[in-house]
Symmetry: C2
Subunit: 87 residues, 2 copies
Amino acid sequence: MYVIVVYDTAAKRNPKVLKLCRKYLHHIQRSVFEGRLSEAQLVKFRHEMASLIDHGYDHVTIYTFPPGTAPQRVLLGTGPGEPETIL
Amino acid sequence: MYVIVVYDTAAKRNPKVLKLCRKYLHHIQRSVFEGRLSEAQLVKFRHEMASLIDHGYDHVTIYTFPPGTAPQRVLLGTGPGEPETIL
């Protein structure tokens, strides 16, 4: 299934969240990742993310789509690249 | 059609971007909005957003879905609320 992940996490947790997302998905925009995951991969990803974040502060939204469907995407702006990679 | 908007914009532009998104969509997470728009509304929204942002720095992703389809959504974490409203 197609998956979009958007995260708003505290700066100190960003590197780990970014690393986890890169393990499973493609980096679209600073806090946005997309890609295809199996049901098992999605369960694993969710479990790993849930153990990484502070549930009282951080916020992660995971969108999933029925097999065979995927959104159209329009990007406005080029964005500043990936500041997180400057560690 | 169903629309998801995710923005990564400079802090000084956030209030205007937030205000524009609220005019058309529902606030899901700090930088994430969703909702149903007509084709005409989407064109207008895109035009207004494009005139607001700095295309060399800011980044806005607009996802659209064919009529009758919408993603499933899972939220992890409660998030800190909406810091942007504290202006």
